[in-house]
Structure formats: structure tokens, C-alpha cells
């Protein structure tokens, strides 16, 4: 009993001093995290600029060629363009046919609508002179959407017209021609209601490749996980194996491999948790300042973050223990982090990963870390993340002990 107490005391003192030693690296870890964060933000900003070239995404420019003297046609067009659903994605530009065709060729317009004279009257009397829709041949997503939109609109119009003509014919057959305006008005109202406001009949269910998380939560957890793993570089000197003399003396004093390795992992975890908490406060304030949702710093989210950093620390310590040199350890950490984050669906959502790799997206330490960081963004961590975290920690802790025993 006395032996156990003395041994435990020695282990506790060693553990306390390791944590103290690790915390001395806090300024360096924070500085590197800020630097990595700034680089990641710059890369993301640059990527977005490159992809979208400073152009608003989702607006579809449509050229409209209409007879300026056709007041009813102009009114219909104005109604269409002021409809909320259309207004949010389309810009209608009135122009001439020649200008519209040139604009299509140059890519300024995604489509051109050539509205025939007296179009509305044609619909009313059944002659139905069609609207000619010219689409650019680029086959872009916007063009495809517009084609679908116009075809659907035409089908709705066809069905509405068929219904109205059938009612007119039936009234005529029954000798009740005086009722035709009322019937048409009623049916127009019904068709318009169905055509324009059908969304009310359905329950809205948002389906996203990002899972439960929104964009901020998804990339936020990925960014923090990346920062945590790569922060290992700034505490590399600490994570590397102790000097042989120190290892021998600790062993002689009864502080075995498991206690030493666990001590180191715990110290790195405390260091990373301190860095996360210190950085989380200004980041949260910054997000709120930009009108976004701030981070949730509750007891639950801090507990989950502590579990997440423990997993990160086990991976970091494993890399430097196995490589046994700063450079090799850093390289191994970079490669392993990249692979784990990719497999965890941190860069591309898991739905876009090849089928063979998809099982790894749930059961790897990086997905556990991302899942456990979820509560910082207001999402529950879930049992799967907890299980993956425990498994990930045990695997890397075990591998660390194995590599240390092999190298003795």
C-alpha cells in the first residue's frame, strides 16, 4: 500500500510538472494558431474570389423583347418580374431582339424571352401565340434551371387553359353563357393559387450534404480540428520523446511507459484546451460582431471540447513518439492530419467521398474531434462522436506505447 502511494505520488508530481511545462508553450501555440487561422481565412477568401470572380451568385440575367405598345403584355411582364420567387433570382432586361441575341452569345444573358404582340389576348382567345425562349448554349446550371422553369410554366399554363376552355364549353352546352366570365374568374383564381402558392401544401424539409450542421458549424468544426491537430507543430519539442537519461530515471522511480505517455498526452491536451478557450472568446465576439451566431461556451461544450483535445493530443504525441525527430514528426503529423480530416469529410462532405472511404468518415479521430466540437456551434455531440473519440484515443495511445516499446 505504501509502495502504491509513493508511486502514485511520484506519478502525480510528474504529471503536474508536465502540465506546467506544457503551459509554458501556450503563447507559442496561440501565436501559431492565430497564424494558421489567418492563413486559412486568406486561402478561403482567395478561393471564393477565384471561384465566383466577385460576381453575385444565383442572379440570372434574362433579356426580354416585348412590344412597348402592348400595354397588357407589359403589365403581365411587370407582374411576373415582381413575383417574389422570380425577383429573387432573375433580372429582366428589356431590350431589342438583336441586342438580346448578341447578349446571349457574349454570355451576358442566360436567356431571351421574345414576347409576341398581343400575347395576353392570344391566351384569352385560345390562339396561344407562343413566347419564344432563346437559351444560351453554354449548358450552365443557371441555363438548365431556367429551361426547367419555363417548361414547367408552359405546362401549368396549358393545363390552366384546358380547364378554362372546358368550363366555357360546358357552360355553352348548358346554355349558361352569362356565367362564363364568373366561371373564368373563379378558375383563374384557383389556378393562380395552385400555381403560385403550392408550397403551403408541403412540409419543408431541408436536406444538406453537411448533415445537421449549417455552413458555419461545418467549416467551423473543420477549421478548429485542423488548428488543433496542426498546433502539435508548435509543441513538437515537448511532444518528442524525453531524453534517454530522463526516461531511465523515471523508469527507475516507477513512472512507467504508460504513465509517461498518458502524462504527456494529458499535458498537451490541457495546453490545447487552454488555447481553444482563450481563442474562443475573441472569435465568438468577432462572429457576433459580423452578425453571425457566436460560439456557445457552456459546461457541456467545454467538456466535449476537452474530450476532443484529448483525442488530438493522442494523435500528436503518437506522431512525435513514433517519428522520434522533430522534422519527421512534423511531416507525419501533417500527412496524418490531412488524411484524417479528408476522411472525416472535413474538406468535402462525406456524401461526396468515394463509397469505399465513406465508412471511415464516421469512425476516425478527426470525425470524433469535429463531432465533439459541434456543441461549440450549438449542435449535440452524439454518442457516435463519443465512441469514436474513446476508440481513437485508445488506438493512438496503444500505438504510442507499442512504438516506444519497440524502440527501447
Amino acid at each position: 500500500m505504501v509502495k502504491l502511494t509513493e508511486k502514485m505520488r511520484q506519478i502525480c508530481v510528474y504529471q503536474f510538472l508536465q502540465i506546467k511545462r506544457a503551459l509554458k508553450l501556450l503563447p507559442a501555440v496561440m501565436a501559431v494558431s492565430v497564424l494558421f487561422g489567418a492563413l486559412a481565412a486568406a486561402a478561403a477568401f482567395g478561393g471564393a474570389k477565384l471561384l465566383y470572380q466577385d460576381r453575385a451568385v444565383g442572379r440570372i440575367a434574362v433579356a426580354v423583347v416585348a412590344d412597348a405598345d402592348d400595354s397588357v403584355g407589359q403589365m403581365a411582364l411587370s407582374m411576373l418580374s415582381s413575383m417574389e420567387s422570380v425577383e429573387s433570382i432573375c433580372d429582366f432586361v428589356e431590350t431589342t431582339e438583336q441586342e438580346a441575341r448578341e447578349g446571349l452569345k457574349e454570355g451576358r444573358y442566360y436567356a431571351a424571352l421574345l414576347i409576341p404582340p398581343r400575347m395576353v389576348e392570344g391566351i384569352m382567345d385560345g390562339t396561344n401565340t407562343p413566347v419564344r425562349v432563346l437559351l444560351s448554349g453554354q449548358g450552365s446550371l443557371e441555363t438548365l434551371l431556367l429551361r426547367q422553369l419555363t417548361e414547367s410554366g408552359a405546362q401549368i399554363l396549358d393545363a390552366a387553359q384546358a380547364g378554362i376552355y372546358a368550363a366555357d364549353f360546358y357552360c355553352g352546352e348548358l346554355g349558361m353563357e352569362q356565367l362564363i366570365p364568373q366561371v373564368e374568374q373563379f378558375l383563374n383564381q384557383v389556378y393562380l393559387d395552385y400555381a403560385l402558392n403550392r408550397s403551403g401544401w408541403f412540409r419543408k424539409t431541408a436536406v444538406s450534404a453537411l448533415g445537421e450542421m449549417d455552413l458555419l458549424g461545418y467549416y467551423g468544426t473543420t477549421a478548429i480540428a485542423l488548428l488543433l491537430f496542426l498546433s502539435g507543430v508548435s509543441c513538437a519539442s515537448f511532444s518528442c520523446r524525453e531524453s534517454r537519461a530522463l526516461e531511465e530515471k523515471l523508469e527507475a522511480e516507477g513512472v512507467g511507459i504508460c504513465a509517461r505517455l498518458f502524462g504527456k498526452i494529458l499535458a498537451v491536451a490541457v495546453l490545447l484546451l487552454a488555447a481553444v478557450l482563450l481563442l474562443a472568446m475573441p472569435v465568438s465576439a468577432g462572429l457576433s460582431g459580423w452578425g453571425m451566431r457566436g460560439l456557445e461556451l457552456s459546461g457541456y461544450s467545454v467538456f466535449c471540447a476537452a474530450a476532443a483535445v484529448l483525442v488530438c493530443a493522442s494523435v500528436i504525441v503518437f506522431c512525435f513518439e513514433t517519428a522520434d525527430s522533430l522534422l519527421a514528426g512534423t511531416m507525419l503529423l501533417f500527412v496524418l492530419t490531412g488524411a484524417l480530416i479528408f476522411l472525416a469529410g472535413g474538406l468535402l462532405p462525406p456524401a461526396f467521398l468515394p463509397g469505399l472511404l465513406r465508412p471511415f468518415s464516421r469512425w476516425n479521430p478527426a470525425s470524433a474531434v469535429r463531432g465533439l466540437l459541434g456543441p461549440l456551434f450549438g449542435y449535440a455531440a452524439g454518442w457516435q462522436a463519443g465512441t469514436a473519440a474513446v476508440c481513437g484515443f485508445l488506438v493512438f495511445f496503444g500505438l504510442g506505447i507499442f512504438s516506444r516499446r519497440r524502440m527501447r
Binding site: V2, K3, E6, K7, R9, Q10, V13, Y14, L17, K20, R21, K24, L25, F238, S243, R244, A245, L246, E247, E248, K249, L250, E251, A252, E253, G254
Partner: protein, 226 residues
């Protein structure tokens, strides 16, 4: 006091220690000499409990040496300095110290900290100390708990003459007070402290006269190396 019986150790296919047996009496200073890489440090690490032998046993007062009493009464100074460089001298000493706060005060005022002149350096990071001071700190780490048996692996290696002499004087004082020492060294001055001298050759130990001169020792070691 210490009985080493049939200790063997191999690293891969290389047999470093073969059936080594010897004993050390209380108050003795035993020196082990030998060529570089002959297994002296491995033997000391086994005696300190840092490395497990493939075979054989170490007994301390008749009991297996992996017991708590042996750990408590043995001080080990490995070849390198077992220090945490980012921490202060005080923290490094506290890592190995097993006494109370009250006793710590006494150590600081008149004990090993004062004797090895580490008092003014307590707040300095161990990594910033000179080689000599680091070695002195390593020695202090081993002596903090007043061990009855000291295992020293080349205590004066890579130190200047002044430091070597200071450490030698301290060991001499320790022996006068009844301490037991087992050390390895290549230094004639250090080995001159030893009442018994063992030569390690081909993984085996041979006792040689304690007054063997450096020249003769060199011939013995060289003969084994060739």
C-alpha cells in the same frame, strides 16, 4: 548489501551482458571500467531498475530490488542529465524529492541544495544552466532523498576540471558518511575513489586490483577491444 546474480541482457542479437554476478557491501565504493559500448551503462540501468534484464536478479538486503525500499534508498544519476529543460531548477528538484515542505527548507538552507551551491539558481530554467551546473543539478536530484546507495554513470563526463574535482570531493564526503557508491568512469581521478575495481570485457565482469594505474587499465581495455 547488494547481490547481483546471473544478469544477462541482449539487444537484438548482440549479447551485451552475460551471466554477470557480483556483490557490493555497505559503505563500499565500486568502480566499473571498460571500453565504450561494452555494457557498463546497461548494467547500471538494470541495477537502477530502469531496464529489465533478460535473466538474473538483483537483491537488496536479500529481497528483490524492485521493491519500494530499494527505490527509496537508491539514488541514480544516468549518463545524460535527467532534466526537464523548460522547468526551473526548483521544479526539477521537486520532481524527485520525496520529503515534506519543512524538510525542503532545511535542504535549501544547509542540505544538498546548499552544499552543491544551487540555492541562487533555484528559479532559473534548467535548460539555461552550464554543463557543469546541469551535472551538479542531476547529482542533487539523486541525492535529495539522502540515498544509502548511489549509482553514478560517468558522473564527471564532459565536465571541466573544476567541476570534476567538486563532484569528486562531494562523493568522497558521501563515502565518509557511510554511503555506498557504484560508478562507471573513464577518469583515473574518479576511479581512485573506489575501493574495488571491476573491468567489463566481452559482456563479463572481472575484478582487478583497485590500485591499477591508468596505463595498465588502458592496456586491459584495448586488449579487449582488439
Amino acid at each position: 548489501m547488494i547481490e547481483v546474480a546471473q544478469i544477462s541482457k541482449a539487444y537484438g542479437r548482440r549479447q551485451v551482458l552475460s551471466q554477470i554476478s557480483f556483490h557490493i557491501e555497505e559503505g563500499q565504493c565500486v568502480g566499473i571500467a571498460g571500453a565504450n559500448g561494452c555494457g557498463k551503462s546497461t548494467l547500471l540501468a538494470i541495477l537502477a531498475g530502469a531496464v529489465r534484464p533478460d535473466g538474473g536478479k538483483v537483491l537488496y538486503h536479500g529481497s528483490p530490488a524492485d521493491r519500494g525500499r530499494y527505490r527509496k534508498e537508491m539514488g541514480y544519476v544516468p549518463q545524460g542529465n535527467p532534466l526537464l529543460p523548460e522547468l526551473s531548477v526548483k521544479d526539477n528538484l521537486k520532481l524527485w524529492y520525496k520529503g515534506s515542505e519543512k524538510e525542503w527548507k532545511r535542504e535549501q538552507d544547509s542540505g544538498i541544495i546548499a552544499v552543491l551551491e544551487l540555492g541562487p539558481l533555484l528559479k532559473r530554467d534548467a535548460g539555461r544552466l552550464s554543463g557543469g551546473m546541469k551535472r551538479r543539478l542531476s547529482l542533487a536530484c539523486a541525492l535529495m532523498n539522502h540515498p544509502r546507495f548511489l549509482i553514478l554513470d560517468e558522473p564527471g563526463a564532459a565536465l571541466d576540471v573544476v567541476c570534476k574535482e567538486e563532484i569528486r570531493q562531494y562523493l568522497s564526503e558521501y563515502l565518509k558518511q557511510g554511503g555506498t557508491v557504484l560508478l562507471t568512469s573513464h577518469e583515473e581521478r574518479e576511479l581512485s575513489l573506489c575501493g574495488r575495481l571491476l573491468l567489463m570485457r566481452g559482456g563479463r565482469l572481472t575484478e582487478i586490483p583497485a590500485d591499477t594505474q591508468a596505463g595498465e587499465l588502458a592496456v586491459m581495455i584495448t586488449a579487449e577491444t582488439r
